[in-house]
């Protein structure tokens, strides 16, 4: 009979849950993690990672198509959708195995099944649909002084847009197409919608994006979103903003959508497939939260700076604990949560310093306040820009379309936000994140030596531009 009593039980093994488990093990807690489907959760298996694999295939396809621009010839370039999907699944499998290895290495017990919390300290696990991996504990009653809920989120379902998984997809189906749709309607232009639009467009589908808000990528800076929109439209993606899909009529192998364009007009569009990417909602159901009296608000568990819920001994991290719904936010909360339990007094996370990345072409990355948000806060700002066309490395790469934008508070020189669109910006943003976290001002950024030739030089130029000292424009 295996031991059923732990210091900490974590429900959900996504990036929040499994990182919390490792940190807990490092701190000497006897730790268990409950999972019902896949170690690594959505992120590794159906989210961040497999989509990056798909987008990489699309990117290389794009380069090969443009081999001539670089003086190369590649003959006729084609792709095999099955092989593209197979590669993406293999990437996920490798990381999924990796999480299993990490659990074993850190002596974290894996419990397989669906968990409910009966009372503080008590978790019941029922056998789930999927088969347990070797070495996992099974259904039963488990005890732990501390229970961390890390159950993540799932696609939001809007009335009229209910996915049937055949013609109307969520990200799950969109990630494993059996064949390429000729035409595609993407409802919603957040990170998920835009990434799929970008992927399918690059592989040749006729893609339309409908966004209910006036701006695509609604959380991004307006200037960056407008720049991205122009690039997407140049690639052939059709975009309607301020518009709404009011009806989806399913045919045998096609869907006819009725779109209210927001200006009084209505049009219909027939496509092979629809992707509903209208956001995600927290998995707060069937955990026993109502009975325990755990406070929730707008579909998310309410937590404090140390990830505590209103019920002692119950904690929540990641998507299920509210926005921003990002893997790196979940990971950081997992660490804070466990360190707080240990009594290490970690600093609560500053949500303004959580970067966001979208891996479309061109990429988008940002941190902190948008220009509009800064102005809404009545802050007096200095804004600096630098375009990719002014950067030697960008031109050498053949990636001269993009922009870096920074926003400083005029009075204090505090870096309030940074926003970028263009090649590889998702790998650049962290420089600004560190700068903001260390509370640097424009002065330190100007004193920092950036290596030449790199795309990162644009980050310095944008700072210089904010202070009227730009060099290469």
């Amino acid at each position: 009979m295996a031991d059923s009593s732990f210091d900490i039980i974590i429900i959900g093994s996504g990036p929040g849950g499994y990182v919390a488990a490792i940190r807990a093990a490092q701190l000497g807690f006897k730790t268990a993690i409950v999972e019902r489907d896949y170690l690594g959760g959505i992120c590794l298996n159906w989210g961040c990672i497999p989509t990056k694999a798909l987008l990489r295939s699309a990117e290389i396809f794009h380069y090969l198509q443009h081999a001539k621009d670089y003086g190369l010839s590649a003959g006729e370039v084609t792709y095999d959708p099955t092989a593209v999907v197979k590669r993406s699944r293999a990437v996920s499998k490798r990381l999924n195995d990796g999480v299993g290895f990490l659990m074993k290495k850190n002596k974290v017990a894996v419990i397989w099944g669906e968990a409910t919390i009966d009372a503080p300290g008590k978790v019941t696990v029922k056998a789930g649909k999927s088969e347990a991996p070797n070495g996992a504990l099974g259904a039963g009653s488990y005890q732990a002084k501390h229970i961390i809920i890390a159950t993540g989120a799932r696609p939001r379902v809007l009335p009229g847009l209910e996915p049937d998984k055949k013609l109307i997809w969520t990200y799950f189906e969109a990630m494993v197409p059996d064949r390429m749709p000729k035409s595609l309607l993407v409802v919603g232009s957040g990170a998920i919608g835009i990434e799929f639009a970008s992927f399918y467009r690059t592989l040749g589908a006729d893609v339309t994006v409908v966004e209910v808000l006036p701006q695509i990528l609604p959380v991004e800076d307006a200037e960056i979103a407008a720049f991205a929109r122009k690039s997407f439209e140049k690639q052939g993606i059709k975009i309607s903003t301020g518009a709404k899909v009011t009806k989806l009529e399913k045919k045998s192998d096609a869907v006819t959508a009725t779109i209210d364009d927001g200006k009084g007009g209505t049009q219909t569009l027939t496509v092979d497939r629809v992707i509903a990417a209208v956001g995600v909602v927290g998995n707060i159901e069937n955990l026993g939260l109502e009975k325990l009296g755990v406070k929730t608000e707008r579909g998310a568990i309410v937590i404090d700076g140390a990830c505590k819920t209103n019920v002692p001994g119950i904690y929540a991290i990641g998507d299920v604990a509210g926005p921003p719904l990002l893997a790196h936010k979940a990971e950081h909360e997992g660490v804070i949560c466990v360190e707080a339990i240990k009594g290490l007094h970690p600093h609560p996370m500053d949500r303004l310093l959580i970067p966001g990345c979208t891996y479309c072409t061109p990429q988008i990355a940002s941190v902190g306040l948008t220009e509009q948000a800064a102005k809404d806060k009545k802050l007096d700002v200095r804004v600096g820009h630098f375009p990719f066309v002014g950067n030697g490395k960008a031109i050498a790469l053949g990636e001269d379309q993009g922009m870096v934008k920074v926003i400083f508070e005029k009075k204090t020189g505090q870096l309030l936000g940074a926003h970028m669109v263009g090649a590889e910006v998702t790998e650049l943003i962290q420089g600004y994140v560190i700068a903001m976290n260390l509370e640097t001002t424009e002065e330190e950024l100007m004193h920092t030596v950036f290596p030449h030739p790199t795309l990162s030089e644009m980050m310095k130029e944008a700072v210089l531009d904010a202070y009227g000292r730009v060099l290469n424009m």
């Binding site: 210091d7 000497g28 807690f29 002084k145 009594g343 290490l344 007094h345 600093h347 009075k411 204090t412 020189g413 505090q414 260390l438 509370e439 640097t440 001002t441 002065e443 330190e444 004193h447």
Partner: protein
Amino acid sequence: MPINILMPALSPTMEKGNLAKWLKKEGEAVKTGDVIAEIETDKATMEYEAVDDGVMVKIVVPEGTNDVPVNQLIAVLAQEGEDPKAAAAAAGKGPPPGAKAASAAPSPQPSQATAPSPQAKAPAPPPAPSSPTPPKTAGEGVRTNGQSPNRVFASPLARRLAKEAGIEVGRISGSGPHGRVIARDVAAAKEGKGLRAPGAPAAATPGAPAVAPSMSDQQIRALYEEGSYELVPHDGMRRTIAQRLTASTQTIPHFYLTVDCDIGKLLVAREEINAAAPKDKDGKPTYKLSVNDFVIKALALALQRVPDTNVSWTEAGLLKHKHSDVGVAVALPAGLITPIIRNAETKSLSAISNEMKELAARARARKLKPQEYQGGGSSVSNLGMYGIKDFTAVINPPQSTILAVGAGEERAVVRHGKIEAAQIMSVTMSCDHRSIDGALGAQLVSAFKALIENPVMMLV
């Protein structure tokens, strides 16, 4: 998991305390709410209650230990079903003792703080460094970082905000990693929170006065013949008095205003009032006013008449108090404490008198709560009963004034060209020149004099 018991902060200003007594022994069971220890704080002895159930497996800091920093590990509790031995062994694995209490780095560095020169950014290492990795710590709470021991760790934004606010960054206690001063600490400091006295080292030796004495203990002892003295260890109150009054005289520019008050009418009135006091069922008068009670009331009313003197200095601005909270120095066998009569301007003389008796009695029993002796707008220190004619008192921060009251005695005075005998009491007001200028202080003193010489005016 064993539970680490840390030195509690029993008042907002408490930085360290003495572990006076353990009420639970190793091996004893502890229930939530049990008093496990007595902690001697600034000026009172407080009980420390357990917040968890368990068994006391290890006492880390023995009783009688002085100056234990807040948040230092003092004991370890094993939870139910836990192996006490293992729990005790795990004790050290908690947060490092004093990690939270130890602040980053002492002393200001004003010229380098915000200078844009490259030298300020990256101070050159001292010539011929012997070790590639500079030692991280040298003694508890002191950081050397291989550089000047006075280096202040602060974010660039914090430095800039502090400069704009006119606050030396070295005076701000940092809440960032390793005590680094970050922007929010500056915002707090602007409201007076977490601000150290100028020149006070950040990581002062526990219990030492704010500024190092010019002679070491050893040097002082060497001046006296061995055996010619007895060494009496300081208690918490002695250290607090030393620290606070040293800080007061070093940071507050004092000036003094002396005036003679004719208390002839007051003594007559006092006799009449006391004679008329109703008796309780034991035949005792229900009040007996002292001269000092009149002094408290007169000072409270004077502060209301000259409200600009009823203030406290803070970096952000003057706190103008609405009520007259008057502290009264009470001598104890081994120290001094100043309980406060709140809203004294609204209270009758008999109410003040009875409240004062009650506070003084509890002060002598060391049973005052921190909120009964902290704060206040002004104080009275009366040494008249010892026959002291006139003296000056040290301001009790964050108050701005203190009234030193001498003995009431018959003196020869000149009136209309003739020498007469009169009952005279000399008083000296000490004023904080940061918040009160000379003429303003004089207005307060003359308002006091007018009231104390004509006690009927206290009725209007």
